[in-house]
């Protein structure tokens, strides 16, 4: 099969309609072809949708137990993480998985930022709840690398590559409703991804903005708006 026609195998591959040899050849091609990888991602969504088109009676309860028993017996060979790390790692991976779609944040980076905030565990937990809400609205930030996530479980800013605030200064978030800015908490930035949960509601039609202010924050913004996002 010539390389010109191999691109055309993407739909058949997505449907598992290649024989073993064709599939291997296509996979070798896939490793070096970004166009096919991207097309395969789209066509696979279509194929997986077909899975929902069949009658789905409940499987026997024993199947669930059998799968979990097998999985646990395999895990016995895995060296566990040190307990101190486990929880922070879980929180970080949960956030990373939820936010990666928009931001491509590394887990390691989030892990560092959360670990250094161990005292603020509860805050991290609330941020996880916000970021992992599949129904939350995600609005890219104008003026920065990041996103505003807002939904029924609250709102948070996730910002990447944010320089640490200058000495004696802090970043301050604002919720601007009908032209009136209301303070929504401060944060310091730094090398790790910043996750800042807004400590007030973000109503539809409002705007969230970030300015630089003196340490401790202020009641009304004095600096110019660095980043902002408008909520639909």
């Amino acid at each position: 099969m010539g390389s010109l026609s191999i691109h055309e195998l993407t739909a058949a591959y997505a449907l598992d309609a290649l024989d073993a040899e064709e599939a291997r050849e296509y996979e070798r091609h896939l490793a070096g072809c970004e166009r096919c990888r991207s097309e395969l991602a789209e066509l696979s969504e279509g194929a997986a949708a077909l899975a929902f088109g069949v009658e789905a009676p409940a499987p026997p309860d024993a199947l669930r137990e059998r799968i979990l028993d097998h999985a646990r017996s395999e895990r016995a060979n895995v060296v566990p993480l040190r307990p101190r790390w486990t929880r922070a790692a879980k929180v970080a991976t949960a956030i990373a998985a939820a936010a990666a779609v928009v931001l491509a944040i590394s887990t390691a980076s989030l892990l560092r930022s959360l670990d250094s905030e161990r005292s603020a565990r509860e805050r991290a937990d609330r941020a996880v709840a916000v970021l992992s809400d599949p129904d939350a609205q995600r609005v890219p930030l104008q003026g920065g690398h990041g996103v505003l996530v807002t939904g029924m479980r609250g709102s948070a800013l996730v910002i990447r590559d944010l320089d640490r605030a200058p000495a004696g200064m802090t970043y301050e978030a604002w919720v601007i409703e009908n032209g009136r800015p209301i303070p929504a908490g401060t944060f310091d930035g730094g090398p790790d991804t910043t996750v800042h949960r807004l400590d007030r509601p973000v109503p539809p039609g409002s705007q969230v903005a970030v300015t630089v202010e003196r340490d401790g924050g202020v009641d009304a913004p004095t600096g110019e708006i660095l980043m902002s996002a408008k909520v639909a």
Partner: protein
């Protein structure tokens, strides 16, 4: 480990926990997708014991390879169902007995209303409605390939068409199906159930 409620986490976040060998997260994924997985496998292999084998192998593959799942590349549900589909097709291709009967996809046994799940029923109706909107040759190619487990060469032979025609029917059908179903409304249908 104390039982935890993972219901508020996205599928992708749960997969990230599975990658850390968290068996409660694997149970959560099974509770979300085991039923669809079993329905799909049963449709393809047409045998309950084989269908259970396919589902078990697929979820153990999830358990072993969750660390390699890349959320930017695919939805977690797509990844899981792709694994299930591949296992089921592998199994059925080894079982020659399916070949004689399954060109005409026999009507399935209907699930009793009490045993049905409202969200799954809604999704099923939407997929079936979308399939009905495809031109017949495209629908036929998708159904025989995806539910029947036929390869493109087998399809070309059975349908008496050049392989290029089969390829373009599969491509056109999948593309159109995805458009008809639409990403956004998928998620909406889930959140309202």
């Amino acid at each position: 480990m104390a039982p935890r409620d993972l219901a508020h986490l996205s599928d992708e976040a749960v997969v990230a926990l599975v990658a850390r060998s968290d068996d409660t997260a694997l149970a959560e994924l099974y509770d979300r997708y085991g039923r669809v997985a079993y329905g799909l496998a049963r449709r393809i292999v047409r045998d309950e014991a084989l269908a259970q084998d396919a589902v078990q192998e697929a979820f153990l593959a999830v358990w072993r390879t969750a660390g390699r799942f890349v959320p930017e590349r695919a939805k977690a549900s797509t990844w899981i169902l792709t694994l299930v589909h591949r296992r089921a097709v592998d199994l059925v291709r080894r079982e020659e007995r399916r070949r004689a009967e399954s060109l005409e996809l026999a009507p399935e046994p209907t699930t009793s209303a009490a045993d049905d799940d409202a969200w799954l029923r809604l999704r099923r109706e939407r997929v079936q409605a979308a399939l009905r909107q495809l031109p017949d040759p495209q629908r036929e190619a998708l159904e025989l390939a995806y539910y029947g487990g036929f390869t493109q060469s087998e399809l070309a032979e059975r349908l008496g068409q050049p392989i290029g025609t089969i390829k373009s029917r599969m491509f056109g059908g999948l593309t159109r199906l995805r458009e008809l179903l639409g990403e956004e409304s998928w998620e909406a249908s889930r959140s309202t159930s």
